[in-house]
């Protein structure tokens, strides 16, 4: 198929539709409005339904309802709106319902800015709502990658019966890049949704569906949590993904995700010109965090330290430190809010850090 120049938001929406998502519930917030707008135009034409909810709270609960009835469903928002969705995310996790939530992260806290940020890393990877749960969190660094991961985002949600979050930022959402849509087919064996509440005929033989996250007895709640944790263990062991760039024999490893990782590649080129070999470990899944991949790279004798670069006060750096576990120094470069560091600034920090 020919390449198309598309905005990240629109491309993500189209990819979701091609992955079989025909239901979208959302609420306007910058910088992700192109997603609901695209869905509003396209979904009626594919026999689906777009609905603008009265709030993010309602939107995520509409997602809960559609998921409870077995539909492939999605919502999108940006940081303040995603905070409002956290209650629903916890219920989705507790009721073991699949769905995809896109967060085009903007600067915070509070109303913050509308410029890109990575300040929602903790919220996304630690669960965000109440209770012991994790959504699977995917962090694209280009429009094409965002498109390519949508099919698997829905598949992961179905296989593990969990919310999946696409953690991007305003740059990915607003940027136009050429994208190619490949025929979207699932690479996973998808389980039957025989648990869905669709209407029950007592003669049908299937048990009555009860979609629920209430387990009032200690033992029953334990059972749910054991089931979730067992699932999370499998996810940690099998689904962590990272891109390794220039890491073989590198002296310094930069760890960054999303848009910032791309800027780091430019910084790496600047360092290379100055004769310093710097590699990049770019988590593609930020939960599960690609511990194995990072650890292998960091274990190389050539590697002296890791530098994590984020548009935050230092969030992912905690996962990097947990992974490196004191074996080598781990530094942080970045600012909270929504200041996107330039390649030159990152390169300058790397060079200075090397001399320190």
């Amino acid at each position: 198929m020919a390449k198309k120049l598309m905005k990240g938001c629109e491309a993500v929406a189209e990819a979701a539709i091609q992955a079989g998502c025909h239901y979208f519930f959302g609420y306007p917030i910058t910088p992700q409005n192109d997603i609901p707008e695209y869905m509003a135009a396209r979904l009626p034409k594919v026999g689906g339904c777009f609905l603008q909810a009265e709030s993010e709270v309602a939107a995520i609960n509409m997602v809960y309802g559609a998921a409870a009835s077995g539909a492939r469903v999605m919502t999108s928002s940006s940081s303040p709106g995603v905070s409002l969705k956290q209650e629903g995310m916890s219920y989705l996790a507790g009721a073991e319902l699949p769905c995809v939530v896109v967060n085009m992260v903007r600067g915070g806290p509070g109303l913050g800015s509308i410029q890109p940020s990575q300040g929602d890393y903790f919220q996304a990877t630690r669960g965000g709502g109440h209770g012991d749960y994790h959504p699977i969190v995917l962090a694209p660094s280009s429009v094409q990658e965002a498109v390519d991961m949508m099919q698997d985002a829905f598949d992961l949600a179905d296989v593990y019966r969990t919310p999946v979050m696409i953690l991007a930022d305003g740059i990915i959402g607003q940027m136009m890049e050429p994208v190619e849509f490949h025929e979207s087919t699932s690479k996973r064996e998808l389980p039957k949704k025989d648990w869905a509440a669709t209407g029950w005929n007592p003669a049908s033989g299937r048990p009555r569906a009860i979609v629920n996250s209430l387990y009032i007895e200690v033992d029953e709640l334990q059972e749910l949590n054991d089931r979730l944790q067992a699932r999370y263990k499998i996810i940690r062991e099998t689904e962590a993904k990272a891109e390794l760039y220039n890491t073989d024999g590198a002296e310094i490893i930069v760890c960054a995700y999303g848009t910032v990782a791309r800027i780091c590649k430019s910084a790496i080129a600047i360092c290379e010109k100055k004769g310093v070999k710097v590699g990049l470990v770019r988590p593609i899944t930020v939960w599960p965090f690609p511990e194995k991949q990072l650890k292998e790279v960091m274990d190389q004798p050539s590697v002296k330290k890791a530098i994590t670069v984020e548009i935050s006060a230092g969030q992912m750096v905690e996962d990097v430190r947990l992974t490196v576990n004191g074996a080598k120094p781990v530094e942080f470069f970045g600012k909270p809010g929504s200041y996107t560091p330039t390649a030159e600034e990152i390169a300058e920090y790397i060079m200075k850090s090397r001399e320190a």
Binding site: C49, W200, P202, I210
Partner: protein, 248 residues
């Protein structure tokens, strides 16, 4: 032997957890009987609330979903929109619907969402232990209005049926009570009308059911029915508030 009464198969055999004399059991039965009579059990999805009816999924013998506090109308929207052929109802109390879920119910009505809501108004929070609800009457003592509800401090009770009747998208709104056999018969008719309104695709339908809470009101079941009659019905008048199915 002739059968003169049989439990509807749309209620399970689970034993209700409600307090003695509580109106929830009556309303559960009415809803279940209506579903049976309309022959829609196999395409009905129940949305139960957070509140005393939180275990509703154990009793309604249909596919059921437990919603977050107040969010049932939004979640029910998700189920209805993914297959309009489904019959979807929410069963909500006054804390759930009139307080934390006020936005969701107003906008379900505003969109003309083709769902049915059974709204139990017993003027109090039951499950959490008798706190004040938006529907608590002026002067009524609760655990969070120990000196009686003071209208200067927290306003006068909200009349949900009348409010929702003003919204263009609502199609059928009625207030009933379950304090006497005659009123229970009328309540069942109202619930049936509401479901038929949904089946006809007319829009949003809601039945507000005035019910009792002997435990948290601190009364015997009989006293509570009398209190309902004397105090609630004068403030919350019964009757059809809106019915576009009858309009020409």
């Amino acid at each position: 032997m002739q059968t003169v009464f049989k439990k509807t198969p749309v209620l399970t055999d689970a034993i209700l957890h409600y307090c003695p004399g509580c109106g929830h059991g009556i309303v559960h039965r009415l809803v279940a009987e209506v579903i049976e009579e309309l022959g829609i059990q196999d395409r009905t999805v129940a949305y139960v609330p957070v509140g005393c009816a939180v275990f509703g999924y154990k009793y309604f013998n249909v596919d059921s979903v437990e919603a977050a506090h107040g969010r049932a109308p939004a979640a029910a929207t998700g189920t209805k929109r993914t297959d309009p052929n489904r019959v979807v109802f929410t069963y909500q109390g006054d804390g759930d619907l009139a307080s934390i879920g006020a936005a969701e119910i107003v906008h379900a009505a505003h969109r003309g969402e083709k769902i049915t809501t059974i709204f139990i108004n017993n003027a109090i929070y039951g499950m959490t232990g008798g706190q004040m609800a938006p529907t608590t009457l002026v002067g009524q003592k609760t655990t969070t209005s120990p000196y009686g509800r003071d209208e200067n401090h927290c306003g006068k009770p909200i009349r949900i049926a009348e409010m929702l009747a003003t919204i263009e998208g609502s199609a059928y709104i009625e207030r009933v009570a379950v304090n006497t056999p005659a009123n229970i018969v009328k309540a069942k008719k109202a619930i049936k009308n509401a479901f038929e309104c949904q089946l006809a695709g007319k829009g949003f339908s809601l039945v507000e059911v005035l019910s009792n809470c002997p435990t948290n009101w601190g009364m015997s079941p009989v006293e509570s029915m009398e209190w309902l009659e004397q105090n609630m019905i004068p403030y919350y008048p019964l009757g059809v508030k809106k019915d576009i199915t009858k309009e020409v």
